[in-house]
């Protein structure tokens, strides 16, 4: 993998979004991944709809939580994702109003990534932002800098938040992952979280996945 990489520098990321008081992080993680994949394969950066997944992904539980692996299946089954403009975010489950003719991005399949952080970095640099999940214990009070929580306080066994891995690098000698969160730009570093890289911090390596756009 290159020594550092950041997909924000290559136009693959939409603006930081806000899930509100709804446990729909899984939808934001997956749409962020699909936005990146669509941009890299089709050349257009679209802001895609999380509300479509909250309303129409019957494999998951809307604001009660969900799994990225189910969301990929739902996107394939539904026939794609509408844009944020056409199917805007409400932060609560509503009746599914997906229209296939409004779908603007599609996926062909999805893959699980290695748990090795070096391999995740190489895959990210070559293929785009990655959906991951982690233990969010340290994130409630995070403000800035590279977070490296004391391991017993951030166990990999309590994965409870899905986010989007967008890059990696070093800050003053501290290796980090750059992570796009879905708690709005007024949280963290303009909506982003920086997590220590190389120690499987907070279980960030346990659930890395991506959609595939052919």
């Amino acid at each position: 993998a290159p020594a550092s990489w950041d997909w924000r520098d290559h136009g693959a990321l939409t603006a930081a979004k806000n899930q509100g008081m709804c446990g729909s992080c899984w939808a934001f993680s997956v749409t962020g991944n699909v936005e990146g994949q669509w941009f890299l394969r089709r050349g257009a950066l679209l802001t895609l709809s999380e509300q479509e997944l909250v309303d129409c992904d019957t494999l998951d539980q809307a604001c009660g939580g969900g799994l990225p692996s189910n969301a990929y299946t739902a996107i394939e089954t539904l026939g794609g994702l509408e844009t944020e403009k056409d199917y805007s975010y409400e932060g609560r489950k509503e009746r599914c109003s997906f229209s296939p003719d409004k779908a603007r991005a599609y996926i062909n399949s999805s893959v699980d990534l290695s748990r090795d952080e070096q391999e995740i970095a190489a895959w990210l640099a070559e293929n785009g932002p990655v959906s991951i999940a982690l233990n969010a214990f340290a994130m409630q009070f995070y403000r800035r800098g590279v977070s490296h929580p004391f391991r017993p306080l951030c166990s990999p066994w309590f994965i409870d938040h899905a986010v989007l891995l967008v890059g990696y690098g070093d800050r003053s000698g501290i290796p980090f992952w750059a992570i796009k969160n879905s708690w709005g730009p007024d949280w963290g570093e303009e909506g982003y979280y920086y997590l220590y890289r190389g120690a499987r911090a907070c279980g960030m390596n346990t659930m890395a996945s991506s959609a595939i756009v052919d």
Binding site: A1, Q19, M21, C22, G23, C25, W26, D60, Q61, G64, G65, G66, L67, P68, S69, N70, T73, S110, V111, D112, L113, S114, A122, W123, E126, N127, A136, F137, A138, Q140, F141, Y142, R143, R144, G145, V146, S147, H148, P149, F150, P152, L153, S155, W157, F158, I159, D160, H161, A162, R171, S172, I174, F176, W183, G184, D186, W187, Y194, Y196, M207
Partner: protein
């Protein structure tokens, strides 16, 4: 967090015994320090329970005096222990700091400059008896000496994040949660091994349970995910 009365809660016994075992490790039984009193509180977290203990113990006289590891530490000592008790793992002693009662401030934050967003003096350090650990459950709000700075922080928080509450009772309750969250942020700050700064965020008025309920996704660790095919490894330089 829950502020416990002195030595009256059996829940403190196990972490205290664990801390004393660590403290006395390597000593002959006759040379072990003896527990005199304990008071403390517990903070329930998703990862387990964090016990903050204030322990008074008696060090036996040194015989001969040259055998004392720290001659000044004989007699009565006041120690602060932090024990993390996890359901799936052994107890962990996160912090141990001992000194003569009244001779030094309690170690909490004494060597740590708080980060932005944390009060520079979250609790009175001038007297062990005035420490937060001694506060009863109902007084988790800041004490008089600390209240000006804490309330100022809380007002800034309300303004910054455009927060308002239904009535004065709810505002008071949220101030208490805010104060406890500052303590937790401070603990995260002390234990962080990177360069992160923790402190006031827009979630600082939420209990851990509220935060988990509204913003997190418990299904990620409770449901088996659908198996996906493995990604091909990256190929290019």
């Amino acid at each position: 967090g829950r502020h416990l009365p002195l030595a009256s809660d059996p829940a403190l016994e196990a972490p205290t015994q664990f801390a004393m075992e660590i403290y006395n490790r390597g000593r002959d039984p006759g040379a072990a320090a003896v527990l005199q009193s304990v008071r403390g509180r517990s903070l329930k977290m998703a990862q387990g329970v964090l016990y903050s203990l204030e322990v008074t113990l008696a060090e036996p006289p040194c015989s001969p005096p040259t055998a004392c590891k720290h001659p000044q530490s004989s007699g009565t000592l006041l120690c602060r222990f932090e024990v993390l008790d996890q359901m799936w793992a052994k107890q962990t002693l996160l912090e141990q700091d001992c000194g003569q009662p009244g001779s030094q401030p309690l170690p909490w934050s004494s060597d740590h400059q708080p980060p932005p967003g944390l009060p520079s003096k979250a609790r009175n350090q001038s007297s062990p008896d005035a420490g937060l650990l001694a506060e009863p459950h109902s007084s988790s709000l800041p004490r008089m000496g600390d209240s000006v700075e804490l309330i100022s922080l809380f007002k800034d928080f309300l303004t910054t994040y455009n927060k308002s509450y239904a009535n004065a009772t709810e505002t008071q309750r949220r101030l208490g949660i805010f104060a406890r969250n500052l303590e937790l942020a401070h603990k995260l700050q002390e234990l962080d091994q990177g360069s992160a700064q923790y402190g006031v965020t827009k979630f600082s008025d939420l209990t851990e349970e509220e935060f988990r309920m509204f913003y997190l996704n418990p299904l990620l660790s409770s449901l088996p995910g659908r198996a996906l095919r493995p990604a091909p490894r990256a190929r290019g330089p």
